[in-house]
Amino acid sequence: MAVVAVAVCAAEVVDTWANTLLKEAIMPTVLVVDDSAIDRRLAGGLLEKDPKLNVLYAQDGKSALGLMEMQLPDVIVTDLIMPTMNGRELVEAVHKQYPQLPVIIMTGKGSEQIAALALKHGAASYVPKKRLAQDLAETVASVLRVSLERLSHSRLMECVSLSQHVFVLENDLNLISSLSKFLRNSIRAMGMFEEAEDIRIGVAIDEALMNAYYHGNLEVSSKLREHDHRAFYETARRRNDESPYCSRKVHVRVDLSNDGATFVIRDEGPGFDPSQLPDPTDPTNLDRPSGRGVMLMRSFMDDISYNETGNEVTLIKRRAKHAAPHFVSEANS
């Protein structure tokens, strides 16, 4: 069960964003990258037939990245086999520097494996070179459409000023893993923190959820893992079907706001005394598995505390005071 309440910022801000989007949508820019002048002109010519598209050209990945420092396109169409920086390397570089920018690859005969790798590394789509005339314009239009929808969703999420969620989950690792992904995506979408901070929070949440699952609800002790980690997981699997463990739930309350993020994670186990955890940074404990999850939670969050029973942990990450809420900066832009 999930209860979700979301408040968004003023409609005029959304209007500003919509206008920007509309302007972008009127004349999107496509960057065509190919070392062969003939192929470059062929692909570009097909796209220039659409008067609503602005087409730019580069002869390899390196030139494309240089051009993008001056003018960022809305979509890139690139060959795979090129000197200096090939298409796969370009996909990786773009994915790293401009994660929202889609790249379409043009594949020639024999480049299927590289194309598969490029798709794995973040390419949005591909068009076989022999089918450029039939498929390129449609693929670019389709990728642009998805990209604009994603951009609009992303900007809308940046307008959220308060988001609250309450989950009551069965003690099911797949459900818990899905919740973790949902929370990571929510934090990232709201643009509350820098990317590295998002990752740290994600690691801390995962550790807290894992503790609730294994040590809380299933009551499997870390000490068992010290001696025999197989027995640890076998015990967990067995207890998943045994009473009272199998009927226990994980309760998660989340508050995301301009002040920061608070996560309250509670299991239905008997609880524990966190002060009894061994210090995993003590040199004599370095090769022991106990306590690392809590240590990561303490290191990556601003504050963590347990209730008296020890079956509920509260993790808090505060937003830096100087960080203006995104919805204000968007309104002023």
């Binding site: 973790s180 590295a196 994600g202 995962d206 894992m210 997981y233 370095l286 090769d287 690392r292 990561l296």
Partner: protein
């Protein structure tokens, strides 16, 4: 070279190089442990270098798998080192002080040189 779900294994003379090939979810605890155990059984490594070039973060599940590998390597009198580790992945190692037993190196070559000494 051997590919598996989480790791890509290379042999470099007597050293096993383990490339962590994808982000290791905290929820893959027993899978990642089972995989490292298969690797240990297959290669019986006397020294190991773990290359993090392809991952930006991980949690205690991978730490646990690395500890299992280290226990094996250490028992043979060998060394283990980490390389190409940056960002939050590096923080996970340093906040847990594991760099005291698994030194960090900027490059794979430097790590290989250390474990071979």
């Amino acid at each position: 070279m051997t590919d598996s779900h989480f790791f890509t294994i290379h042999q470099h003379q007597n050293t096993m190089v383990v490339e962590v090939s994808s982000e290791v979810s905290s929820f893959a605890n027993d899978e990642v442990l089972a995989e490292i155990e298969r690797v240990i059984q297959k290669y019986d490594p006397q020294a190991a270098v773990i290359d993090f070039a392809h991952v930006s973060f991980f949690g205690s599940s991978l730490l646990e798998a690395l500890r299992t590998l280290w226990n094996h390597v250490h028992a043979t009198g060998g060394k283990m080192a980490l390389c190409n580790i940056t960002g939050v992945a590096k923080e996970v190692i340093t906040v847990s002080h594991m760099e005291n037993i698994w030194p960090l190196f900027e490059t794979r070559d430097a790590a290989l040189q250390y474990v071979a000494e």
